[in-house]
């Protein structure tokens, strides 16, 4: 059992948790994730590590409320326990002195982005960060990202901050105006990753994306997380989760992510019916948003 030490609702559909897991905290590196199972009947699902505190023996995650599992997780409070937390899984990000780098993030991608930006800075890279959100309501941790990056740009979907509505438009223009990038990292919504990868391709900028297929075990045992990269089948949990965005078969990823839409909706509705009281007790009513 893994105790929740801290819980915070960041924006209406996104929750941050700090969870006691000293052994995972000791080994965690940027780019890695954990697999959770909330309770006895729960499914196994992955969340990226947003941070870790070796001294306190805790790891941090932040997640978007999507369906039954994340809703269940969001309904736990400080002092409650998560049944299983496994990790740190996946390969850590390759971090070297690249020179000029960029880190793009949307929704929960802000979490992994911040740990990576810090690590990139430690290696002497220049880091420009780009944050994408639907509107001001869904924007969080702007100050945190700013405090670790050389430059931070915010792109809002309603166009209320500057002329861009999508991070990919920003990236495209950034490169078109002659700025050089040695490497770019993208985390969060699949569309953000896909479109930014398309934007960087003509410029030949090495593009790293953190893929989020459906997983079960997270240890290379089931093959559920398979993706196609450069025409080869890879298991995201052991070969990834980070891959070259120019080589990813995005259509396949999106289709596989949508394989259980009917079952997920059913499970979510049933859970809500059974837990109406608990949901009402949660301060902010979460909204269901699509990340694909």
């Amino acid at each position: 059992m893994y105790k929740i030490l801290k819980r915070e609702v960041l924006v209406p559909n996104t929750v941050y948790l700090k969870v006691e897991a000293p052994e995972i905290a000791r080994k965690a590196k940027p780019g890695q994730f954990v697999i959770l199972r909330v309770d006895e009947v729960g499914e196994r699902f992955p969340l990226s590590l947003t941070g870790w505190d070796k001294k306190e023996g805790a790891v941090e995650v932040l997640f978007l409320i999507m369906g039954r599992s994340t809703m269940k997780l969001s309904s736990l409070g400080e002092g409650d326990c998560i049944m299983d937390v496994v990790g740190p899984l996946g390969r850590p990000t390759e971090i070297e002195s690249y020179g000029n780098t960029m880190c793009v993030c949307s929704t929960f991608g802000v979490g992994p982005a911040i740990t990576l930006v810090k690590a990139l800075k430690e290696k002497g890279n220049k880091v420009v960060s780009v944050m994408e959100a639907k509107d001001e309501t869904y924007l969080f941790w702007e100050d945190r990202l700013k405090s670790v990056s050389d430059e931070t740009h915010v792109v809002l979907g309603d166009g209320s901050r500057g002329k861009h509505r999508q991070a990919s438009q920003f990236v495209k223009e950034y490169l078109e105006s002659g700025n050089k990038l040695d490497r770019i990292f993208i985390f969060g919504r699949v569309f953000t990753m896909m479109e930014c990868s398309q934007a960087t391709k003509p410029f030949g900028v090495k593009t790293i994306v953190g893929l989020t297929p459906i997983m079960v075990d997270g240890t290379g045992m089931c093959g559920c997380c398979r993706v196609s990269v450069g025409g080869e089948t890879k298991f995201t949990c052991v070969d990834g989760p980070e891959f070259d965005g120019h080589l990813v078969d995005w259509e396949l990823l999106i289709k596989r992510k949508r394989a259980y839409l009917i079952e997920e909706a059913r499970a979510f509705d049933l859970w809500q019916l059974d837990n109406l009281r608990r949901i009402a007790e949660l301060s902010e009513l979460p909204e269901r948003v699509s990340v694909v």
Binding site: E23, G42, E43, G87, T233, K255
Partner: protein, 470 residues
């Protein structure tokens, strides 16, 4: 014992759930012998001077002796004899391929009626489970020494090694990647063949010996083998199985609705998708399911598919019936339940719909040619024999390879060309000092009893080694 006047060649059948009933539930298929039936079967054993049966058993269970104890009505003694060689009789009695092991070499096999050793073994184990007070008395007090052993993986190899070492007084910690202990016994072999409560019972027994089981611990990630050795463990036994699935490697295989057998069985057994939405993990089977391959794993997957509600389930296999690697009993069970065998048939590609779900598979017929490296006739494609079969779900059940996490994170472990860890068959030693290995990770996919045997041999060698080290 009463004199045996003449040979009794009437093997006592084991009662089973009727096929039309069982194919829609996950309860155990074989129901086990009632007392008088067990006695009847036990009394058929002729207590041979040279018992062939023992030679066929990879761990040399004292078969005539435990059978005699059943006959004499001395069940605690039967338990003792059995358990002195086999710490998981409730499991082996159910899943050992007896027809190619102990029952094949039973002296009565030549007469076509070997003693039903597995079923008797199961009978003894079930009796023990129903009389827990007996084992408690037998266990006695263990005094611990100051040596610590780490075991990676809680499948049959890991559990056996742990139990043996704990009985010798070692402080044993098992590290298990999943959220339950038991390995394939928990996530692979379905409930209707091996009820999970029995596996849980064996795991609890190992814990009762003082073994600590740390779940959710992926060695290589949360700690490496080298770190275990540096941080106080005197020896490490590697038993992570051979869990990585193989695929057909044909176009369309990444469509949704195509599951590796591992994924299909894990969702079903470990995550209890057959009880969705009470349990959160979903699974999709649809109306028509094709399972590729013909080993035990394929039989398990096809029979699960039926129980999950599929109307037509096919086993597609490129060779003929004679080459099917699955146990005869499981093949018959599958056939009785209505699984359809498409033999001498192989897939060439999968076809999907606009949502990226599999909707059909292209198959072609095969002929058998000259024997290949495995000694089995090589299947050759018949030109122009292609045809399309509509399906809703496909399950490649082609076997597994060793998972690379341990080999790739451990310094100085020599591997074989199959990716298994190079291991001495007798002692279980690897090329790395203080590291032993056993089970599927050493041999490639094999059997429960061979994994147990390896766990036991490694425990013996670890004990010798650590005893002599000071």
């Amino acid at each position: 014992m009463a004199e045996k006047s003449k040979l009794n060649l009437n093997r006592v059948p084991i009662p089973k759930q009727a096929p039309e009933v069982r194919k829609r539930n996950f309860n155990e298929v074989a129901l086990g012998y009632a007392d008088e039936k067990a006695l009847e079967e036990a009394s058929r054993c002729i207590a041979c001077k040279k018992p062939g049966c023992k030679e066929g058993c990879p761990v040399n269970v004292d078969i005539p002796e435990f059978i005699k104890a059943i006959e004499e009505g001395n069940m605690p003694e039967a338990v003792r004899i059995l358990k002195s060689k086999n710490s998981l009789p409730g499991i082996c009695g159910r899943v050992c391929p007896q027809e190619s092991q102990c029952e094949m070499t039973c002296n009565l096999a030549k007469k076509g009626a070997p003693i039903a050793i597995g079923r008797l073994e199961r009978y003894v184990a079930d009796w023990e489970r129903a009389h827990p007070e007996i084992t408690k008395q037998q266990k006695g007090q263990i005094s611990f020494n100051d040596k610590k052993v780490a075991i990676v993986g809680s499948g049959p190899a890991g559990l056996t090694c742990a139990a043996d070492l704990a009985k010798l007084g070692y402080r044993v910690t098992i590290f298990e990647a999943l959220h339950v202990a038991g390995g394939v016994l928990m996530y692979g072999i379905p409930e209707f063949r091996l009820p999970k409560i029995i596996v849980q019972g064996e795991v609890d027994y190992v814990k009762s010996l003082g073994v600590e089981i740390k779940l959710d611990n992926v060695i290589g990630k949360i700690a490496t083998v080298d770190e275990l050795l540096e941080n106080g463990f005197d020896a490490v036994f590697l038993a992570p199985g051979a869990g990585a699935p193989m695929f057909l490697d044909i176009p369309g295989e990444n469509l949704s609705g195509i599951y590796s057998a591992n994924e299909f069985l894990t969702r079903t057994n470990l995550m209890k998708a057959y009880r969705f939405p009470e349990y959160d993990t979903p699974i999709q089977v649809g109306r028509r399911v094709a399972v590729f391959g013909a080993g035990n794993v394929a039989m398990d997957a096809s029979r699960c598919a039926l129980r999950l509600g599929a109307e037509e389930v096919y086993i597609v296999y490129r060779r003929s019936k004679a080459e099917m690697p699955a146990r005869l009993e499981e093949r018959e069970n599958a056939e009785e339940e209505g699984v359809i065998f498409k033999l001498l048939t192989n897939p060439s590609k999968f076809l999907g719909d606009e949502r990226g779900r599999v909707k059909a598979v292209e198959l072609h017929e095969m002929e058998l040619g000259e024997p290949d490296a495995s000694g089995r006739p090589r299947p050759i494609r018949k030109p122009g024999s292609e045809f399309i079969m509509e399906i809703d779900t496909a399950v490649p059940a082609l076997g597994t390879r060793p998972n690379p996490i341990i080999p790739s994170t451990t310094r100085g472990l020599k591997l074989t060309k199959w990716g298994t860890i190079l291991t001495d068959e007798v002692t279980g030693r690897t090329s790395k000092d203080r590291v032993w290995c056993g089970g599927d990770m050493a041999t490639g996919a094999a059997t429960v009893i061979s994994a147990m045997g390896a766990g036991r041999r490694a425990a013996t060698d670890i004990d010798t080694r650590l005893r002599n080290s000071n």
